[in-house]
Subunit: 152 residues, 2 copies
Amino acid sequence: MAAREQLKHAPCPVARALDAVGDAWSLLIVRDAYDGKRRFGEFLDSLGIARNILSGRLRKLVEAGILEEAAASDGSAYGEYRLTRKGMDLFPVVVGLRQWGEKHLYGRQERHSLLIDEASGKPIPRMRPAAADGRPLTPANTRVRKLPDGRA
Amino acid sequence: MAAREQLKHAPCPVARALDAVGDAWSLLIVRDAYDGKRRFGEFLDSLGIARNILSGRLRKLVEAGILEEAAASDGSAYGEYRLTRKGMDLFPVVVGLRQWGEKHLYGRQERHSLLIDEASGKPIPRMRPAAADGRPLTPANTRVRKLPDGRA
């Protein structure tokens, strides 16, 4: 079995998640869906990728149960792609990517978009893994408990 | 400019982050580094990918400032790859992928590894974006404030 194919069956949830969404375009489509985009043409305009690549990624996201196809809400002939619960649950991943990008990938003079909490009108706080009592969790104070057969 | 190349310069931090780490192997190398792996051979054994692919991904991660090369801690001739602060800061992304995978990608009978809080010995709580006052944040109660020129 090729290494890439093994990810789909891995006992490590990080590996399985990356098998499903471990490419840039898939997560950018999910990002655009959070931003309210629904139509093929909207994703096409936003991403600037070739139609056949977008078609393939949308089909893969539908097969993975992250998006679902639905009749257009305005009754037009073109269908829409809507996020499922599974797709909505990727929000922490997209927020994590955003916040890491904000911190590490912009020069001092460079500006970037902001994710705003609508209730406060302010950028959302940094999201961090935390214990039940609020202690910050890091690679240093966590460990992976592997399956008994030693697989990751 | 090709669509993929534009991600590197995007005003959206999600896009820039995915330009840097938007492939499965790069984030699995980072996962393995959190798990204490440092040597080329350790990553090779863990991932089961071809040496040239691993070499390329490690070089890209070093160029991106996510890993740094260092002399081996045991004085041997083989160098090590260590996480930088920028690499450590990807932890929320990896935790987010893990928790989404745990929730959505395993059948009832299937077991997976667990990320344990060493202090409590228990799996770490679900990480969620939250407002300063603790309200859960979702795509429905947040919005992206784009740059004035309308770019995402």
